[in-house]
Subunit: 141 residues, 4 copies
């Protein structure tokens, strides 16, 4: 039997609020998803003006980051033509996201969850996701 740690709903709410504050600061209404260590959704919000298509994309970025324990933009690099993971973007029925905006939450070397953000540019999405990660690590660290 293994004992693992995972984000709870209170952690997820802290992440959502910090991410929304950053989204307001940069002026881009976002879809924001939080998943636990197993990739299952814990909390989600679509800010007024967030894109409809980004609903699923945010959830799948968070699923990918927490499930694979790495940032989605790392897959972006690894899946370029000629690179080892080329073509992985369509895996898992397209849920494996290689576009920036998904980050894992790593605490003491273990992945306890993730966050996925979508509606802006990948750089903006990642910036907002990072604000969520920073907030929960400050809370738990």
């Amino acid at each position: 039997m293994i004992s693992v740690n995972r984000l709870d709903l209170d952690d997820a709410r802290v992440m959502l609020e910090a991410a929304k504050a950053k989204a307001v600061e940069i002026g881009v209404p976002m879809c924001i998803a939080i998943t636990d260590d197993a990739g299952n959704l814990v909390a989600f919000e679509r800010m007024d003006g967030g894109k409809v298509t980004s609903t699923t994309i945010a959830i799948d970025k968070s699923y990918t980051a927490s499930g694979a324990k790495k940032a989605t933009h790392e897959y972006g690099e690894a899946s370029q033509p000629g690179a080892p993971a080329y073509g992985i973007a369509s895996a898992i029925g397209g849920r494996l996201m290689v576009v920036g905006g998904g980050l894992p939450v790593i605490l003491d070397g273990a992945c306890i969850g993730g966050i996925g953000v979508s509606s802006g540019s990948p750089a903006q999405d990642t910036e907002v996701a990072q604000a969520g990660v920073d907030a929960v690590l400050a809370k738990l660290g």
Copy 2:
């Protein structure tokens, strides 16, 4: 062109908080989803202890209630063997939910969104969903 009203994120948060309070009161940790008038997800929370399988079920109950403008338990009655809508439960890739726990939000005769709840019995799910509906109608009414 049509002008329509729909739940915004603030409305969704009011619904989530009221639904969670009812869930705590009856002692069942729930998955709770809020969708807009088009069936697209606005907000979601899985309370600590909510069922993993209920993540999708709550979202799909809300999608059904807001998209079809009726309570999911009404489909339950209409889809019994021999009834007119028999077999509809598997429509839309299984997203059409006929189990209680999904309610539309009707304001001035128009559906502006919905709520879906899952993890308890269908009666408990519906009771928690109703608390969410009551709260937002009190806010907007």
Copy 3:
């Protein structure tokens, strides 16, 4: 609560007729889909000779354009190898279309719907889609 504007069926019919006229003019029978601001289908026609595979593609182009509030060919540019959105083409179960032929309908800065066209080259599809957009903006503007 938010009030939003969206295409109605009369608008969609105007778009379809204008797009079909352009398709006849360039000699390519097309599949043409109109979605509302939420990405849900309002109207669809497959002209005699339109491709079977283009049925889904046209619907998904329109879904992408209206849901993401941008032309699908913009995604095509942004998702080239090495570009920031590389790999997004397979998102949402492959519904996120990055091939030209999907256009949003933007009125007074808000997206009120979209059109997706498929069966010709991406340039032809976009030309036909533009005819639909021009017609509805002339009607509503």
Copy 4:
């Protein structure tokens, strides 16, 4: 943050061996799946002669049992025509299994995983699944 316990691979192997021994005893080659507390697959074996269709069914029975924290045959009873959960069998894209053969592993009141068995009758499947549960509880209890 929540700390949870879940089956590890060694536990899953113990369950598989015990389930296979029971399957041999009753003379039915089975598909056997073990999932963790989050419903994600840990181990799977299709015995020589196990049904191809049972591959997915065993996995989904285990997913349902661990994700919903109850035996799949309980859903079978609750989802009969006229019963409260009627129609739930097609939820989650059909992954929600209401046919017997899926059991959760409950230790000290918490669900730490599940087992799903398919290829025999539901009664046979459940008997084989129970052998797996008994073995892991004897190991961990």
